[in-house]
Each structure stands twice: as C-alpha cells, then as structure tokens.
Symmetry: D4
Amino acid sequence: MNQKQLKLLLQMVAERKISIDDAVLKFKKAPFEDLFFARPDHHRALRQGIPEVIYGAGKTSGQIIKITQSILENGENNILITRLDSENARIITQTLPLKYFETAKIGIIGDIPSPNGKGKILIATGGTTDIPAAEEAAVTAEFFGNEVQRLYDVGVAGIHRLFASLDDIMSANVIIAVAGMEGALASVIGGIANCPVIALPTSIGYGASFGGIAALLSMLNSCASGVGVVNIDNGFGAGFLASKINHLGGS
Amino acid sequence: MNQKQLKLLLQMVAERKISIDDAVLKFKKAPFEDLFFARPDHHRALRQGIPEVIYGAGKTSGQIIKITQSILENGENNILITRLDSENARIITQTLPLKYFETAKIGIIGDIPSPNGKGKILIATGGTTDIPAAEEAAVTAEFFGNEVQRLYDVGVAGIHRLFASLDDIMSANVIIAVAGMEGALASVIGGIANCPVIALPTSIGYGASFGGIAALLSMLNSCASGVGVVNIDNGFGAGFLASKINHLGGS
Amino acid sequence: MNQKQLKLLLQMVAERKISIDDAVLKFKKAPFEDLFFARPDHHRALRQGIPEVIYGAGKTSGQIIKITQSILENGENNILITRLDSENARIITQTLPLKYFETAKIGIIGDIPSPNGKGKILIATGGTTDIPAAEEAAVTAEFFGNEVQRLYDVGVAGIHRLFASLDDIMSANVIIAVAGMEGALASVIGGIANCPVIALPTSIGYGASFGGIAALLSMLNSCASGVGVVNIDNGFGAGFLASKINHLGGS
Amino acid sequence: MNQKQLKLLLQMVAERKISIDDAVLKFKKAPFEDLFFARPDHHRALRQGIPEVIYGAGKTSGQIIKITQSILENGENNILITRLDSENARIITQTLPLKYFETAKIGIIGDIPSPNGKGKILIATGGTTDIPAAEEAAVTAEFFGNEVQRLYDVGVAGIHRLFASLDDIMSANVIIAVAGMEGALASVIGGIANCPVIALPTSIGYGASFGGIAALLSMLNSCASGVGVVNIDNGFGAGFLASKINHLGGS
Amino acid sequence: MNQKQLKLLLQMVAERKISIDDAVLKFKKAPFEDLFFARPDHHRALRQGIPEVIYGAGKTSGQIIKITQSILENGENNILITRLDSENARIITQTLPLKYFETAKIGIIGDIPSPNGKGKILIATGGTTDIPAAEEAAVTAEFFGNEVQRLYDVGVAGIHRLFASLDDIMSANVIIAVAGMEGALASVIGGIANCPVIALPTSIGYGASFGGIAALLSMLNSCASGVGVVNIDNGFGAGFLASKINHLGGS
Amino acid sequence: MNQKQLKLLLQMVAERKISIDDAVLKFKKAPFEDLFFARPDHHRALRQGIPEVIYGAGKTSGQIIKITQSILENGENNILITRLDSENARIITQTLPLKYFETAKIGIIGDIPSPNGKGKILIATGGTTDIPAAEEAAVTAEFFGNEVQRLYDVGVAGIHRLFASLDDIMSANVIIAVAGMEGALASVIGGIANCPVIALPTSIGYGASFGGIAALLSMLNSCASGVGVVNIDNGFGAGFLASKINHLGGS
Amino acid sequence: MNQKQLKLLLQMVAERKISIDDAVLKFKKAPFEDLFFARPDHHRALRQGIPEVIYGAGKTSGQIIKITQSILENGENNILITRLDSENARIITQTLPLKYFETAKIGIIGDIPSPNGKGKILIATGGTTDIPAAEEAAVTAEFFGNEVQRLYDVGVAGIHRLFASLDDIMSANVIIAVAGMEGALASVIGGIANCPVIALPTSIGYGASFGGIAALLSMLNSCASGVGVVNIDNGFGAGFLASKINHLGGS
Amino acid sequence: MNQKQLKLLLQMVAERKISIDDAVLKFKKAPFEDLFFARPDHHRALRQGIPEVIYGAGKTSGQIIKITQSILENGENNILITRLDSENARIITQTLPLKYFETAKIGIIGDIPSPNGKGKILIATGGTTDIPAAEEAAVTAEFFGNEVQRLYDVGVAGIHRLFASLDDIMSANVIIAVAGMEGALASVIGGIANCPVIALPTSIGYGASFGGIAALLSMLNSCASGVGVVNIDNGFGAGFLASKINHLGGS
C-alpha cells in the first residue's frame, strides 16, 4: 500500500464510504502486500512482463508442464526452465512451444530478448568439460537481455590462449570465470581484468577435487580482488548475477 | 608501451632517429610492459592517481612504513592499509600522516575522495559483532569513491528491524550482506532486493559455526538468486567488488 | 516388577506359597523387567495400545510383512512404516491392510487417531522439493495424534509468502521448519515465533550444499533462540519430537 | 499498532478528529510496528516485563554496562548476560547490581523468578567437565522461570549411576542431556525417557572429538527418537528451548 | 635363515662342500628370507595349514577361482573369501566346493574348525541393519577357530534388551560391539564389560551419519576405556583381531 | 545384591525375621546395586583393591587433591592421575605422596605392582616426538601390572632400525604402535607381528597431518589385519586396552 | 617474436618496406605469440612432433574421434587418450588405428617410442587393486619414452615381498609408489630409496579411506623425505612427472 | 656387511681363521646392517660425509645441542637443523658454531657446499608472506649442493611480474612453486615450464584457506601436468626433493 493508496483509503474512511471494520481488514494484510509490491521484480513485472524461472531438477515433465501453464495463464510469456534433461524436454515440447538448449540443459518458453544491458558479459572456461555450466550461465544471461561472448577452453595449463583474447577481457562489462579442478582461471582473469568477475566453480575433476570443492576454495581465496563466487555448478546463479550487474542503472 | 608510444618509436625507426639495435633494446622488455599497461587500473592510474593497497597482517610497523614510503616516492598519494592493528597504527602515525579507522582496522594515507560511483552501497550486518568486517568493507568502499550507507544489527532474529529499512534496501545500487552464525541475512536480503548482493560471511559464532564455514555454506547455497560470495571476513574484497560494480560505466 | 507385585511376591514367600528357589528365579530377571516396565511407553502401551514404528529402508517387503504380522499378533494394531518405497508398499498391500502415503514414503496399518495434543503443529517448508521430508514429519505427527497444518513453499527467497501466514505461525504450539539449501527458514521462523521450533534440514540442494550439511550447520547456528535440530531428512524424528512436545502434560 | 489501536485511529479519522495527513504519518511506520507487536514476546513484555539477554562474549565491560543501562532505562528490570568472564563481572559489579554465576559464566540483573513452568527440567551431564555448559543451561532455565534438577556425572562409562536416578528421569517434563566426547548420554536417556530430550553437545574431549563434532554427530544420529540438538556448548540455547517447551500452554 | 641353518652353511663352507660364491648368493637373499620365515603365520602354516584370505570385492568370479586354485595347489585347504556377492558365489560354486554365507557375504573353502580359543567372542549389534557387518565378523572369527555368541538388536534405544543379556556380556572373553548411527553401543558395553571391546562402526544411518563417520568418531571418543576401533564396516578386521586376542597364549 | 544375599533375605522373610515392608525397602535400590556389583571391576575391587583413574586435564590442583583424598578415604590406595601438568604435580606433591612421570604427564599414588600379565607389552614409536603419548601408554600399562618394553624411534623412514628388533616384535604378547605424521608404523608392525596390535595415532606433524587425523585414518585403513585403533594421543586408552588383553584369563 | 624476427621487422620499417600501421598490427599480438613460441613443448613440437594427450572421461566416442582427427591433420602422429572406457575404445577402433590398454584405460594412436630417458622408472603397488592406476602411470611413462619396471602387490602387509626386490628399488632412477588404503608403501619406499619418489594415492579402500583421502594424507605426511604427491588416481600425472624427471638433461 | 666383507668373512671360515661360533655371532646382526648399508645414502656417507638433518620443532636447545654433539662425534660435520626458532638458535650459538638463517628458521653446522647439481633450482613465491617457506626450501637445497634462484612475489594477481621472468622459468632444471591462498601459481608455472615442478602450499591466507588446505587442494588438482605436491609449509621436503631430482645421474 503506497502513500497515495493510503490517503485514498483514509479519505474513504473520513467520508464514511467504507466501514471501519472493512478498513481494518484492508490494513491487516497491508504490511505484507506492501512488501510484495515493493519488490522491484513485481514493479518490473507490471510494466514489462518479467521472465519466470522454474528449477527443473527433480520435477517430472508433467509437473513442469502444469507449472508452466499456470504461469502462462497469469500472463507471463517468458519462462526459463533450468536443469531440464533432454528426455523431459522432448516430452514437454509435444505440449508447449519449448526451445531446448541441450548443453545448457535449459528450456525456454517465449523469446530471448535483444540485449539491453550496459555492456558485454564474457564467459570464459578453463576446459571443454566446463562448458555445460558455462552454457547454463550464458543462456540465462541471454534470456535476461544480455550480450554474451563465449571464450571457452582458455585454462591456465595453456595460458597463452587466454592472453590471445586480452582485448575481449579488457572490453567486457562483467566476466564469468568458469573452472573446475584447481579453479585458477578466476585468479588469473581477476588479476588482469578491471571489471567485476564472477567465479563459477564446476564439479569437473577427480580425486581430491571433491566434486568442485577444490575449485570453490581456490576461488574464495583468490589473491585477485573483486571476485565474487557462486555455488558449484550454479550456472544460473552466475548468469543471473552477471545480468543484474550488467543492467545496473540501465533504462 | 601503448599504441601511441609504439607508433612514435616506429616513426623514429622509419626516420632513422634511433638505431635498430637501440630499438630492439627498447622492445626487449616491452611485451610485459605492454601487458602491464594494458591493465585498466594503470590506465586509470595515469589519468587520476590510483590508490594502492597494502595487506598489513603479519607485517611489522617498520616494514609497512618502508613499503608506504616507497609507494609515496613513486608518486602515489593514496594508500589503503588493511588488517592494521592499533599498536602498529600508533607507531606508523609517528612517521606518516596516517588516518586510522579502529573498528575497520584500516589505515589510510591521503584523502577519502568524494563519492563518484553510480549509486549507493548499502552495508547490512546481522549483529553488532559483525561490524568490524562490515567496517572493513565500508571504509574500503569509501576509499575507492563510493557513498556507503550502514545498516547494522538487522539480523533475522529480529527481522522487523530489517523491514523497517525496506526503502534503503530498495534504493541501493549494491548491497553487502555481512553475517556470521547461520548467515541467513544474505538470503533474506537477496530475496527482497533487486540489485546485486555481495555476501560477506564472518567468523562470528561458536561450536558448529566452524569459524565462519556455516555462514559461508549458507550464503553459497542461498535460495535467493543474484548473490556473489567472498571469503570469510574478507571485508576488503567485498568492498572492492562492490566498488567495481558501482563504478561500471561510470564517468 | 512394581512395588505392589514385589509385596505380593514377598507375601507369598512369607506364607511359604512359593519356594525360595522359585522366588530367586523370579527376582533374577526383575531388575531389567523393572527397567522395562518403568518405561512410560509401555505403561501407555498397557492402557491404550501404543503404535509401533518400523524403519523400512533396506528391508524387503517380505521382511516387513513378517515383522508387521509378529507385531499384530502381539496385539498392537497401529503400525507406522517409514522409508517405504512404493514398490514395497504395493506388494505389502496385497497381504496387509496398508494405507500408503506416497510423498511421505510412509505406510500405516490401523487408523490415524483423532488429534489429542495440546495444540497445532505447523510444518513449513522452504521449497516444494522439501515436501517429502515435511510429509514424513506430518504423517508421523498425525499418526501420533496431532493436528497438523501444512505451510509449504514459503522460503526466504519469497519471504512475503511466509509473512502472509503470520497468524498461523503465531497460533501454532510447535513448528517444524523444513529447508534444504541454506536452511534460513528456521532462523526466520525462529525469529518470529514464540513456540518451540524444530529445524529439519533436508538434503535438497547441489554443489556446496553437501547433501544437507549447509542447511544443518545453518540451523545449528541459528541466531534465533529456541530452535532444536534433528538429523538431515529425519522427518520421522521431527514429527515424533513435535508430538512429544505437543502432548506434554496432555490428558 | 494493534487492532484496537488501529480501530481507534480510524474512528478518529472517521470523526475527523485527526487530519488525513497526520494519520498518514502515523501509518508510515505502522507496518513494522505491527510486525513488531505481533511478536508474542512483546505481548508478554507488555503484560509482565520480559527478561532481556545480552551475549557477553567479545564485549568489553564498558560496552556491557552501557547496553545494560539502556535496557534498564527502557523499563526492563531483568537482564541475563551470557558468556561473561569473571574479570568483566567483577568490573560490572562495581556499577550495577549484578549477580554472577561463575561456573555458568552468567551474570544476572534482577531476580530469578519463582518457577512457573508446567514441570521440572532435568539437566544431566556425562562428566564433571561438562558442568559449565550444563550450568549455562540451568541458570538460563531458572532465569526464565523453571524448576531445574541437576544430575551431573552420570555418563555411560558408569551407567549404573544414571539408572540410580531413573525416577528423576521418568518424572521430568523436559530433559537436557549434556555430553562431550562421544555424546552417548543423549541416546541412552532418549531411549529411556518419555519426555522431549534436548541434546547439548560440549567441546570436551581431545583428538578425534574435534572440539565437540563427535558428540554433535552422535546426537544428531541418535537411534532414540524425540531428540532435538542444539549447537556445541550452546547451554543458553538448550535452556531457552527447554523453557519454551516447559511453558507451552502454561498459565 | 635360523641359527641352525646358518651354522650348517658355515660348516659347509669350512668343509669346502660349497664354494664361497655360492655361499655369498645364499646370504644375499637371507635377510628377507629371514624376515619371511620369522613370520609366525608361516611357522603355523608349516605346522598346521593356515587359512588364506581373499578380499573378493572388485574381483571377477574368474579371478577368484584362479587365485583359489593356485592356493589349493600350494597345499592350503582352508580359504576365506570376503566381500563376495551372491552372483559371484553362485558361479564359483559350479567349479569349487564353496560354502556361502549370504548375510556375511563370505565364501569358505574347507571346514570351519572346532573352536580352539581361550573363551567366547560375543558379537552385539545395535540394530538389525548392522547384522551384515556383524556376520562378517562372526563367520571370520568362527573360521579362525573361535566360539561366537551373537547378541543382535540390543541398541541403546531399547537398552533393557542389552541388560537382559548382562550375563553373556560378563562371561565373554572378547566383545565386538557393532553399531551404525551414533555408535553408542560400544560405550555402553565398554562401560559394563571387563574384557577387551572391539568397536566396529557400520555405515548404517543417513544424513549426518556420513556413511559411518558419526559412529566411528563416537567409538574413538568413547568415554569407556579399553575399546579399540576398526574401520567402518570392517567386519573381517574385527573378527580377525578378536580371534588374535582370543588365541593369545593358546596352545 | 548377589544370589547368596538374595536367598538370605528371602529366608529371613520366610522365617519372618524381617517385615515385608523392610524387605521391600531393601529391594527398592537393589536393581542398580545389582548392576553395580555385577561389574567385574567391583568384584575385583572387593578382592584386591582396584586402582582408580583421575583424568587430570582441566582440573585444578585443589580439585585433584580433593578427589584423591576422597578415594583414599574409601580405601583405594592406588590412584593414577593422567594429563597432569608439572606445575599441578609440584603442588600436589606438597600434600600427597605423589610419584610424577614427567614425560608421561602421569602422577601415581601408591605403588606400581609387579607385572602379573600373561606376557610382555611392546610399545614402539615412529619418532622421538611420539614418546610422550607412548610413555602415557607405558606407565598406564605398568600401573595395571604389565611388563613393558620400550622400542622408540623406529619409524619407517629408517625401517632398518625396526627390523633390528624383530625378535622383540615376535616375542611380544601385545604391541602398541605409536606414530604421528603418516602413521605407517602400525601397518608395518601389523604386517610382521602375530599378536594383537593397538595403533595409537599422535598429533605430531604439521600441515595436512591435521593434528593427527592423517595418522588416525592411516591406521584405520591399515592393510594389515588385526589392528585396533584408539583416539589420537590417547596413551591411557592404549595402555589400558593392552593391559586388558594381556590379563585375559590371567590368574 | 624472437630477436632475429624483431630486427627483420624493424629493418623493414626503417627501409619503409612495411607501413607503420601494419607494423603496429604485427606488434599487437606479439607478446602472446612470444609466450606461445617460448614454450619448450612447442619448440620440441616443431622439431620432432610432440605427443598430444586427450582426457577421455566424459567425452563421447564421436567427440574423441573428431578431436583426434583434428590433431592428426595438424601433423601430430602420436596421441594418448586417457580414461577411455572399453566400449568407446571399441567404437573408435573401427575408425582409427587405436591400440587399447584395457587395464590402464588408455588408448594410443601411433607408436610407443624406444625408451630415451636417463634411467628406469619403477612402479610399485601395494595391492592388486591398485594396478589400474599403476598401469595408467606405466603406459603414460612408456608413451613418453621411458623404460618402466612393474613391481606389483608389494604392500606393507607382506613387507618381505617388497624387500625381495631391494635391488630394483636401489637401481631405479624414479619410483612411483602406488597405494590405496593407508598408503604406507610410499613412506616405506621413501625410507629406503635414494631416488625421487612420486606417491600416487588410489581410491582403493572402504569406510574411512574416504575414496583415497586416507592414502593421500598419509603420503603428504610421509616421514620419508623426497616424496612428491599427485592427485588421487592420477596415474597420468604420476607417469608424466616421472618422465619429466627421467628426461632431465636428456638429449 | 657388503659383498666384499661377506666374501672376506667366508674366506676366513673356509681357511678356519675364525671359529664357526664367532662367525655366527658376526652374522647375527648382519641382516639389518646389510639393509642399512644397502641404503645409498650411506654409500654416499662412506664416500663423502653425508649431511644429517634434525627437526628442531618441539625440541629444547639443550636437546638439540646434545643430538648435534653426538652426530659430530660420529664424524658427520654438516648438520641442518630445521624449524629452529631464533631464541633456541641464540642459545645454541653459544656452544656450537651455528650459522642461523632467520627467515628460513634453519641452523647449519658446517659449510654450504659449492653447487654440484645438474642445473638450477628456481624457487618462486606468490607473495611476500610465502617467503619463509620458500627460504626453508632454498637453504635446504643450497645445503644439499644446489644453485638456487629466488623469484619472489610473482603471484597471479600481478601475473605480468611472473612473465617478466620467463627466461628464468624456461632455463630452470627444477622449479618449486610456493603459494598460499588459492595456490594458482603452481598451475600457471606448470602450464609454462617444461621441467618438473614441485608445488609447496603454504598456510598463508585466512577464512576459507583453512591453514593451507585451499592451496593444497588447488595444487593437487592442477590442470597442468608434471606437478608433484608436498605437505603444507614443508619447505624442507620441497628443497630436498628438488635436490634429489637435480642430482639424478650426477657425478
């Protein structure tokens, strides 16, 4: 309930157009409705139709279809479904106009918008096996209106490949450094780049990589400043945070 | 060696104003100077005098004075010294014009500039014991030219205090959520705010908080999207990353 | 052997109705029978038929049927079988009058009694994926005679949904807060509610959630007081403890 | 603002005794005051003066005195200060009427009330070294109006001592089982008692006890049902939760 | 090479019945042959045919048959095969006279000897799910010539069942306490029994039992003295160590 | 109450020499006295005066003196005090006839008895820094009536020193293998010796030894069979278990 | 760009055979081309055709064939494919001349060269289950031109077998000690051998071996000096490092 | 007893210059002396006087002096004492001709020899705080006869400094990469250098660096091949292994 709505309601009370009991009822839920509408997501939702996100892991195709249809009925036209395996995607496609990104394991209803962020999001990976997590980040970022540049397989074992793309690193607005194993890529990029770097550890590796813990710890302890870390394999989180940063102050 | 300098040198070669052997000598160290000068920090350094940072932990006051003087001699006037204990600060002050921020354990040579970022950085803590880490972030952010708003002791145990500042949360450009113990503050703020949130876990707590691990894991697993995490008690890193984000595309 | 029985036996000895050797034999096992009968469970069992619990995980349908029949033969009519997968449930149903709760993975022989606790047990989950653990707690609590109110998918990422149910939180006698990922729900509810809160961490999450450890640590470190934690995914334990609390001093 | 106050205010608006603008002003801060007053703690506070709790660890005696005086000025007369070392206690006593419980490391301003809970809280420890954590729980429970019975040094290494107190275990309303090392006490008591058991792991032990982790894990995995666990050495949390349970439905 | 053999060899040198070079050759490998023959296992092997042990996990039925036949050819008639799954056992039985113990996952070639230890080995488990590990210990102990008494499902959740067997506990020569979850059984038995107790943690449990770590830590930290711990699920090791203890000084 | 006493009491009841009410009173506490006296320790205690053990860590000299005097008054003349630092030992000696073993950090009241075990306990250490833990085991074993042979600094880095004592290894009745760092000594000795081996990991080491965890894990995973492990630095436990094994069936 | 190339280019500038803008372009990428060509791998590549390595895990046979063909087209004739399962190997063989080493899970295109290292690489394993990791190391080392001697199943549980090969240990130039479980083999060999020892922990074991962590920690804490450790199961890394050491100063 | 000595002894037996009983006596201890002398260290010792190493941590100055004097009496003139604090060094210097290296915490008796290895050992650190561990490695390597080149503070946060020393990296025979925090230096150097790289993790860092674990894991998971890792802060081990590699095949 904003100030204008409040004044209106009090006016109605003063003019006895609404009973005091009904007004009390309206106030009772107001704090939480306030909270609800205060959320910019929803302001944006009202203005422009905000994309919805469904976490697909552990859901059946039937459940996903049901949730999706309920969202569509509420007037949201753009839906991102993460962690969607190809079999579920195949089934959903029979019912809904789903675009499926196999490597990213993402399904999309609606369109990927034209980029409207402030700059370019660069996504770099240490190896080819890190690409699925990187693609989850990339498609997420594109879905939220960002220009994405992919720079894959530039890990520190062959560091000359990374330096061959120095211009791209220097001209990015946000960088997502994706790496498993020892995760050194985030530190190296963090030591070169001047823009915010999001470190995305992946579960790639074996033995003492402990499913991504080695990369995660490495990234948290990066000697390069200006690095923020997301959860292991959390490509969506990295892409979404990058998009938030890239749209700051954006029209 | 930037492009202009390179062109100049080649011009001199073309015009035979410099011998080929002397030019070779000049190039010999160039690749790394190139790399060096390619770093935007240094572009900025050339334009406006970039602040230097010294990590004070484990250094004697004598060592810090020596490093500081060497930086000053190189023409840098603004220096930030982190993890500086009060005793070392007291000694350094006898030799150098140090401003000391006791709670933040930060010493500064030179001036804190007027804010020139895009918006406001909000720094919220769960409890009063998280304030030292928060202040390290706050003074760092101020030192790098940001307006900082402090919102301390608004942890989820008394969540109404957090909601009393909903306007501040909604109007921030970047938020740093500082919390120890279970670190839930980052998730709650991340669930409300629309701007990028940097989660700063602190080592506050006991027993199974394991010196900040509980808060760190909590923040990495935040169900709220758009949260990037820094190392435990890494106030400097949080402040520096927030500043980077807040200056993106800044004039 | 209670005091009355002891007196009776000594009387028989005094009256030489029983030989000393036979009396010795009766005493020999008495200490442990004492211990045995001293257990209130069994006092209750004598009065009202106490429900038995079978942990179904790792047992074949054959083994479960055999144990169940042995219990039924001992006169117990109400049996709760936890961690019972649907295939085993299907087979058991062919032999025994089993009611199966698919989501809770619980099978029940006998009836769910009318609630006879002191108040209402509220069970809240952070997300929809936490529902199986929540249902294990819910059906357990109902089986032990409690009124259960479900409040699902009210996690801190959309905290307004939680606050929309503030009345339910305030009127509960015991609350079970069920959450995976960062487990912040327990702290938020613990910070609002005035009744005892049982925190039930779930293994939902990925990466650095470590199969529920992040949520577990978060809950153990809750800055909100009055929170007791059970093992990861231990819905039965949470429901049983809630029931114990809800029946304290109950008639 | 409670419902009664709200009605009153609307009445005044309806009767034009207050201008709409002034009413708006009054509402502006209302949502959070609402939330604030909705918290039962504060309802209780209004009725009977609720005790305040200060976490003393890491605070100077000066800071504690200042916080305490501010609370006293707000009309709260009973204050519990936890983790208060004897030196700080000594200094505070010179300024404030502090009662100090050395073993519990608790200081109290005001009086310990007569017990007004439903039953007795039994606090059992495995060894004598667990007594400090147990006393923190005991004094906390007493401060919040509970009758506390202490049963110390009854660990499973000499299990006959525990059974010698079977009557006390059977007649308790809530039990706090305090143990370090392998923490088996909680399971043994949980296997005997019929009331809710709060397991309080302590950091007592060496080697692979890992500062209480062994006891904590042991308690979380207790094969006895109806056990809720609090953080390592969190005597306050155990005592507070026990008090909450013991006052449920209490007059 | 024992002293007698050495004298013999030197005699032959003195009597020039062997060349010095051949004698040198004989000495060259002597230290390790010494070591080899010094091993009592082999002394025993010479005297009585020592049982051989094959670790079956990760071996194909073909590999096991081949190893077994090679041992049989060397004159060993008694072979114990651990971690042998039922499918492999079925195949091996077609070729070799294998006795298979399904629960213990042990196969035996030859006979289980009459007990020849000093006393009885008691094997107690906390629950029925711990029985496989217990049976691996039991069959191993029987195979090495021990009388084994089984006492299953006497965990601390129903501690009266354990005390009902106090006589068995008191009369055992060695006890193996087998438990998963919180592993408290070892401490309780260790607190009662006067003989050596071997604690065998099992991987039974879920959540924070971490595949047996909780039980392992619990047992290592047992407040009861005289407890030695073996690896998680290492029934063979427990049975073998118990047998060693039970045969000390045995004829 | 043993069987003889029970018969006597029943006889008195049968002969009406005692009233039934008085008999009831006598029985009331009997179950636990039974349990108490059923413990062989106490049977032994009645026969021969059993040594008592005090864990000295974290106790003041005053507390230790008080406990000791209380034990002495109960007629126990032999007391072992572990983890006793030299300063406390110095103070206690002024009041009580304490013998202090500096390296073992053990104090003894009374006499070390002549060895009455079945054989010799060999205690081997990997390095000289493991000696304190070894001495705690050695003095404990001696105090409980065992012949102890020390074999120090025979770690696998200089494995020839270990083999130089092959005879001692072969003739021991029980061996305690004491090692920090990688703890390989237990495996090597376990691979040679035929008697039970108790592995005692020490906290000696640095970096990834994690205060003894590396040695502990190494010992638990020993490829040599017949090894039981005690807690890190638990010399007392190792010595006590070795003594139990060495006295099995002893006269 | 080497000095000669630089002089040539400057000459061309001086002689105006190339425009300054074109020269600038050539310089722009020079630093990284420099870095690229400075890598000895590539110098060697130019001279003799360096073997390429493909990490086969998680790649389809189709992907591997494509990468392999692309390498072959670039003129590299020798390719090592690690972590290649037998099914993928079978498919690839239909297209490419692959030699498959089943135990090592390695496929090779091209020939294994004659050994050209300085000495012999000895590879020792603790058990037969460690052989796959050992073979990965062995085939890798052979592929890079080393003579490899295999010494399998010489673990410390039967240490006499290891000593029977003392000559081989003494004459090796590099030793790879491969062991799971407690990993003591590395320490024992490190204590005997005088050459560099590479410790290769394997994931063999169960319970508290934690998938190789016990062996890894054991090896890192080896009391024997001169031991370098690689990741768990990283046979390729061990073989490659051994080859590097064995080729030092090699022609 | 070497082969020559053995032949001599047998000759004497054959020639009856020694009785068989006396020869038996001589042989009795021979097996282990054999083993002893088979160790190449000791062959070297016979030829050239091998340096001895004392681990100084946890030893008093008195103990160190005593051990040192005993070694000197045995004819060894060169002794390296690691982990020697400055106070102990000061005291020892009063008795023995000790040279003390403060940063390395190493004391040396005797002379540092002229380098006699095959090449140069390069020691690189990520930061200035890693220098103590690096110096322990450097002085150790120098003490064992190696030319050492120091390259400090070239961490990846300022990677241009590392590349400025590309020539040194390319010309080293062995490289020790010393780094704390995220330890990325080892991967970057491993990706550039062609010689063996020893990774030495340090305990430098805070928060989630966990005393060097982050760096250790990072190094074990290095995507660069040919990297062997030593324990955290184990400068001696790194220096000693580097020396072994650098002396392979050395004259």
